[in-house]
């Protein structure tokens, strides 16, 4: 299991936070077609959901590429470790990423 106690303190990420010279943001704020490296999952993401997201490959260091968002504020599609998967914006918001140039 993921050991919470050993992790350094988490930062709650939202679109306004400017970590690492403005390049860090949450996953849902990425522009379509851009790629990013995952920094961490927010501590707001807990329990089963956290475990599931990590099992799917949303672990620090993974590279994600943002694809389309579904209509009506629907889920956002990502390419991650060779798989396309969709997360709801509220979930993607819990993933802190560092945009790659």
């Amino acid at each position: 299991m993921f050991n919470f106690s050993k992790r350094p303190s988490f930062r709650v990420i939202d679109e306004r936070s400017d970590i690492g010279a403005g390049r860090a943001r949450s996953l849902d704020a990425l522009r379509p077609g851009s790629a990013a490296r995952i920094v961490e999952l927010s501590p707001m993401c807990r329990g089963f959901e956290r475990k599931r997201m990590m099992d799917l490959g949303l672990v620090p260091g993974s590279i994600v590429e943002r694809a389309e968002q579904a209509p009506f504020g629907g889920p956002i599609a990502f390419r991650l470790r060779g798989v396309t998967m969709a997360l709801r914006p509220s979930q993607a918001n819990l993933v802190a990423v560092e945009e790659l140039r």
């Binding site: 799917l56 490959g57 579904a70 209509p71 470790r81």
Partner: protein, 650 residues
């Protein structure tokens, strides 16, 4: 869809027989094999290839919702193989994943086959590495090698074998490649080494660490990147099917096309079957029965009751199903269904439901009982219940023919010649779309009343589009779905036919029973814009929606005296849909009756099989009752409002 889903078939004899045979074989096998893998890696295809079964496999994650078992022989030894539900990990709290993990630890299989998707090896390696850390005697079946190759991904199986330390077999199970090698390897491994297990409570390494290892392994074993030369048809199609502006128009167009082809194509064969089975064979059978000297009541029950309703079911249902199911399976094989869920989730999430509910609905368009079972793919219990209770708003294949028939009989004549089929299709499509709207409204209401709560975890894997295997599509949809569903309908039609004949011919107070029942139901029928015969038909036909129309026709006929009594002569002019219209007109049907019935067809209680399936899935009588009450409530409100408005305005 998947009406052959083993879980949906618990209450039918075919599934029971299969399970009994399996149970009988259980004691007589030499080795136990566990089949594992991520969802949608072709695990069920591997299972089918190994065991020779022809269970349908869909191109979307979570198709296998219950473990299936089969047998195969190799080198004189027999293997029992268990197809475990697809899992991403051995650890998470998901139901399916618990099943797999528990099985692995407690059943102690001799061989564990992990099916991995060569096109997404890195993600699949997580499960491989987890399994390797608690079991020996593991074989990695590297499936979908053909697809990986076509996308420019080259996986070095030998190198992977060295990295993992267990046999790795490249496969293309859809084409049957590598299956023989897998069997031989299983035998070799089972004969050679006894299994070594880690203690049951041994902790698994964390996913972060495993993914680190996975990416190192992938760096060594996977060569070549997906080429991005020119445009790939998949990318263009994918964009069309899911992009913000095109997704909904394309979705509507696809469904409209499917329904239009079904309506257009089903007419002629339906009429032919009708003239053959009803127009020609029925009088022949009647003649035979008379010649054999059967008493009038026996030939009435057998020929006018049971045979006629069975014949009607075949004539009404077979052609639309034989057209609809192949097209639907084609879309499923292509990988369109998860994309529908993707497109719809924005709406479903606002209604407090899960986007995968769109998938269970898609299932429901084939068979609601299968749709209810399919709701297992939704992990959280609240959203799962929402999906189960609203599944009836997906029009099952037993109701499509009813809608199509009513549309072409009553809506088509309302417009000028030549536009009839378009108007009929439009009406049917309107009801289908209304079903989606009602399912959203129903979910919204449920989320605020009976099933309060917020949506929790959501994720949706979108598999790559695949070129469908045409022959397989034809085989699955015709044999597995069409014939299977038709058989069920015919089986239910026989007793219902007998009941219909009896209520129409057993007299009480000088009139048949049906007369009194229709009389009693008429006031309610009038309020709903229907009539007593329709309501009685829905009550008698509760075993299967397929037989509602045949029941109505037979009740109408018997009550008007055409086959009553000694069952004299012909029913109506054979082979002409027009004659059905004439008969209904004579029975007092109006456009309002037909339109109200189309509404009621969408909103009424599900068939008894589905209600029973809800009971089994939720283990609660209360939810089973709600699953019937919810659509029925909607139906009463909608139909009476519609009828009132129609009578005031038209």
């Amino acid at each position: 869809m998947s009406s052959h889903d083993p879980a949906a078939c618990d209450n039918c004899s075919l599934g029971k027989a299969l399970r009994q045979r399996m149970a009988a074989n259980e004691g007589r096998c030499d080795y136990l094999v566990a089949l594992m893998g991520n969802p949608n890696t072709g695990k069920s295809t591997v299972f089918n290839r190994l065991t020779g079964l022809r269970q349908h496999t869909g191109n979307w994650p979570g198709k296998t919702t219950e473990r299936a078992e089969g047998f195969f022989d190799e080198g004189g030894k027999s293997f029992r193989i268990v197809d475990l539900p697809g899992t991403y990990s051995l650890e998470a709290a998901d139901n399916d994943e618990q099943v797999s993990a528990r099985f692995l630890r407690s059943a102690n299989p001799d061989i564990t086959i992990v099916v991995a998707d060569a096109t997404a090896l890195e993600r699949n390696l997580l499960l491989c590495l987890q399994v390797l850390s608690i079991r020996s005697n593991v074989i990695v079946a590297l499936n979908l090698m053909d697809e990986a190759r076509s996308r420019g991904i080259l996986v070095d199986a030998k190198e992977l074998e060295d990295e993992l330390g267990v046999p790795v077999l490249p496969m293309a199970a859809r084409r049957g490649q590598g299956v023989g090698e897998l069997r031989r390897k299983a035998l070799e491994l089972a004969a050679k080494a006894p299994v070594q297990t880690q203690p049951a409570d041994a902790a698994l390494p964390g996913s972060e660490e495993l993914y680190l290892r996975a990416s190192r392994i992938v760096a060594k074993c996977v060569r070549g990147v997906p080429p991005r030369i020119g445009f790939d048809w998949r990318d263009v199609l994918d964009w069309l099917l899911t992009s913000r502006w095109t997704a909904f128009p394309v979705m509507a167009a696809i469904f409209a096309l499917v329904i239009w082809i079904t309506v257009q194509g089903a007419n002629a064969p339906s009429a032919m079957l009708d003239s053959l089975l009803v127009g020609w064979a029925h009088p022949q059978l009647k003649g035979l029965a008379d010649a054999a000297g059967l008493p009038w009541w026996l030939s009435g029950v057998l020929v006018d009751g049971m045979y006629l309703s069975g014949a009607w079911v075949v004539a009404v249902m077979l052609p639309p199903m034989a057209i609809f199911f192949p097209m639907f399976t084609l879309l499923e094989d292509l990988g369109y269904l998860p994309r529908v869920a993707f497109n719809m989730d924005g709406l479903f999430s606002r209604a407090g439901a899960h986007g995968k509910q769109a998938l269970t609905m898609a299932m429901g368009y084939g068979c609601n009982a299968a749709g209810v079972v399919a709701a297992r793919i939704i992990e959280s219990p609240r959203e799962r219940l929402v999906a189960i209770l609203t599944n009836n708003f997906a029009i099952c294949n037993g109701r499509w023919p009813t809608l199509i028939l009513l549309g072409s009989l009553f809506v088509a004549p309302l417009v000028p010649d030549g536009y009839g089929s378009i108007a009929a299709m439009g009406a049917v499509l309107f009801i289908a779309v209304l079903g989606v709207v009602l399912s959203l409204v129903g979910s919204w209401i449920l989320s605020r009343t009976l099933l309060k709560g917020e949506v929790c975890s959501f994720h949706l894997e979108i598999p790559p589009l695949r070129r469908p295997c045409l022959w397989q599509v034809l085989y699955t949809s015709l044999i597995d779905r069409t014939i299977f569903v038709l058989w069920r309908a015919v089986v239910f039609a026989f007793p219902a036919g007998a009941v219909i004949w009896l209520v129409a011919n057993v007299n009480a107070g000088g009139e048949p029973l049906a007369f009194w029942m229709v009389e009693g139901l008429s006031p309610l029928g009038w309020v709903l814009g229907l009539n007593g015969v329709i309501l009685l038909a829905y009550i008698i036909a509760i075993p299967a929606n397929e037989i509602v129309v045949p029941t109505i026709l037979m009740l109408t006929l018997t009550l008007s005296g055409a086959v009553a009594g000694n069952g004299a002569g012909m029913l109506f002019e054979p082979g002409e849909v027009g004659s059905v219209r004439a008969m209904l007109d004579a029975a007092g049907w109006t456009t309002l009756t037909a339109l109200s019935m189309m509404l009621f067809c969408l909103c009424h209680n599900p068939c008894s099989t589905t209600i029973y399936t809800v009971y089994k899935e939720t283990k609660s009588l209360r939810w089973a009752m709600w699953s019937a009450a919810l659509p029925l409530g909607f139906g009463f409100v909608l139909c009476s409002a519609f009828a009132l408005g129609w009578r005031l305005l038209v």
